[in-house]
């Protein structure tokens, strides 16, 4: 028997009982769609996190004061020592490493900001002109902090878009003066609205030169030093260099922690990929259930079509051919079912993407392949028994409908 004939005959018998066929395809489709949608969600969550990280900057190495001890209590803690702070000179020294392209020191504090009668509390970020490229921020209006000597405390500030809106409304802010604590700063720029990124709303901050921030908060230490490595490959070298340089500058004491964004990102990536696979796996169970359903219905089909099977045998069809016919039915069922499931799944992912535009929902290729594969696999696997049963029917008994 020719393949085309086998397929045509099988699809004919599927059309012969449309309700049964549709229900079975529906079961298959739901299974496949569940895998596609759930993995798409998981993958979306993973990409969301990755995007959030890369919106912080690329090839980032972050230096923070203090040492995270994982083995018990450090000696410094027992003596009540505060870890040595990271100074601006420390930060500049890191630039000596060939692997480092840019650095942005960071000081954070809160202060009141006021313009005429309006005032509010605000988070103040002290940094340099390099912050803009390193943190991938976008300026809306005016200029960012001027480049130049790191120790120079020019009284200028850049406002977050929401702060600008609250203090100035629709009036021009660039060129005006505001008061931060007891100091006056001239507004030179306004950030573009960016919204939340890693729990840090850049719309509600004020950025001033790091030296000015130190004077404002009366400190000399840095909260973080953001280091941008020259390339992805030099991240590790930048991390080691930063550690060595600060180690030397701090008289051989390892009192800073250097982390790479990559390491953090990789951890999140692993966790979320595992999560996606787990969720996909659970959905795949529904595919196995659909497979059992196919087996059940195929068994019923064999019982219902005993006479037809007997006839085919009398007309010269060997058992193998009968088995292939039932196989073809199962493959068609699960094949069409999984295509419908894929369409449903993609449509579902689209809808979720419409509802949560910030979540980059899209089903990963491996999940799509796996779902289709499992659907076809279970369809074929679970039709082996019914098909064999049909093939082994005794033609005389089958013709008599027994």
């Amino acid at each position: 028997m020719r393949l085309a004939d086998t397929v045509r005959f099988a699809s004919g018998s599927l059309r012969g009982s449309p309700a049964r066929t549709l229900l079975m395809m529906l079961a298959m489709a739901i299974g496949v769609a569940a895998v596609v949608v759930l993995t798409a969600l998981g993958e979306g969550a993973r990409r969301y996190v990755v995007n959030q990280f890369s919106s912080l900057g690329t090839n980032l190495v972050i230096v923070l004061p203090g040492r995270t001890e994982t083995a018990g209590v450090g000696p410094g803690m027992l003596l009540g020592q505060i870890p040595r702070e990271i100074t601006l000179d420390d930060a500049e020294a890191v630039l000596r490493s060939p692997a480092v392209s840019r650095i942005a020191p960071l000081t954070v504090g809160t202060s009141s900001i006021s313009r005429d009668a309006l005032n509010r509390e605000v988070i103040v970020l002290g940094s340099t002109s390099e912050l803009l490229p390193v943190r991938h921020m976008t300026l809306g209006l005016g200029r960012f902090l001027p480049p130049g000597e790191i120790h120079q405390s020019t009284p200028v500030c850049v406002l977050g878009s929401k702060i600008k809106q609250e203090l100035f409304g629709n009036a021009t802010a660039v060129g005006a003066w505001v008061r931060l604590g007891d100091r006056r700063f001239r507004v030179i720029g306004v950030m573009a609205g960016q919204g939340e990124s890693m729990g840090f709303n850049t719309d509600e901050i004020v950025i001033i030169p790091v030296a000015a921030a130190h004077q404002l908060f009366n400190t000399s230490g840095l909260f973080r030093v953001l280091i941008e490595a020259r390339s992805r490959d030099s991240i590790e070298q930048a991390r080691r260099d930063a550690e060595t340089i600060l180690f030397q500058r701090h008289n051989g004491e390892k009192d800073v922690t250097v982390i790479t964004q990559d390491a953090v990102l990789a951890t999140f990536d692993r966790i979320l990929t595992a999560l996606t696979m787990a969720v996909g796996g659970i959905a795949a169970i529904s595919l196995a259930v659909a497979g059992v359903l196919i087996m059940n219905v195929m068994l019923i089909a064999v019982a219902q079509r005993v006479k037809e099977i007997g006839l085919l045998k009398a007309l010269g069809a060997p058992g193998r051919q009968i088995r292939n016919l039932f196989f073809a039915e199962a493959v068609l069922l699960s094949g069409i079912g999984s295509v419908a499931g894929l369409i449903l799944g993609y449509a579902g992912s689209r809808i979720i993407a419409e509802i949560y535009p910030s979540l980059p929902v899209s089903p990963p290729w491996w999940a799509v392949l796996a779902a289709t594969g499992i659907a076809l696999g279970t369809g074929i696997l679970f039709s082996v028994w019914p098909a064999r049963r049909a093939a082994r029917l005794d033609p005389v008994a089958a013709l008599a409908g027994r």
Binding site: G310, A314, G316, A317, G319, Q321, V396
Partner: protein
Amino acid sequence: MIALEKVSRIFEVGDQQVAALRDISLTLGAGEYVSLMGPSGSGKSTLLNLIGLLDRPSSGIYQLEGRDVSDLDDKQQAEVRSQKIGFVFQSFHLVPRLTAAQNVELPMMLAGVPVEERQTRVRELLQNYGLTDRADHRPDQLSGGQRQRVAIARATVMNPRVLLADEPTGNLDQATGREVMKLLENLVTQGITLVIVTHDVEIGARAQRQLHMLDGQILSDEIRAS
């Protein structure tokens, strides 16, 4: 053509053994027209199934065209059925979702005959049996006589040497029954070997050779003088 030598067929019903055929020896020549008669349970259908290779003898030797076919496996049996044997059933056994033409085409499709050849042959047969205008009708849109004509067309589509008919007129009225018999007898004149199982004495009497069976044995074997 067909030679049975001491053929028995024993069924196991529960722990009892029931002999449906006992030591039957029979030779049928090519182009012979034979009727098999006898009461229910006499073994005539079992004999027919055995000749049609739907069954195997428990003992004895069955030779078809000089070849021992007593102990073929499923695939070889199917091959012989496909090439040499045609079946006509009492209840027609047409596939309800297929049209008349598709039903006739079925044996050729199973045998893997190329599509063009199939279509030519089906058209030719439908015309021979006066079914051309019924080609695209499903069995439930056909009368009993038309259905049996489709079934006969299907049985002969592969040009078999042997045609086995089990009560071919059992579900038809007398007039249509006679019509169907004429079609079958017409095939005998073309050289086919026809074996008919029937209860109907009148139908049975039309055959040149009449076999009467009882309790799994051949009671009488009469050849009508023509």
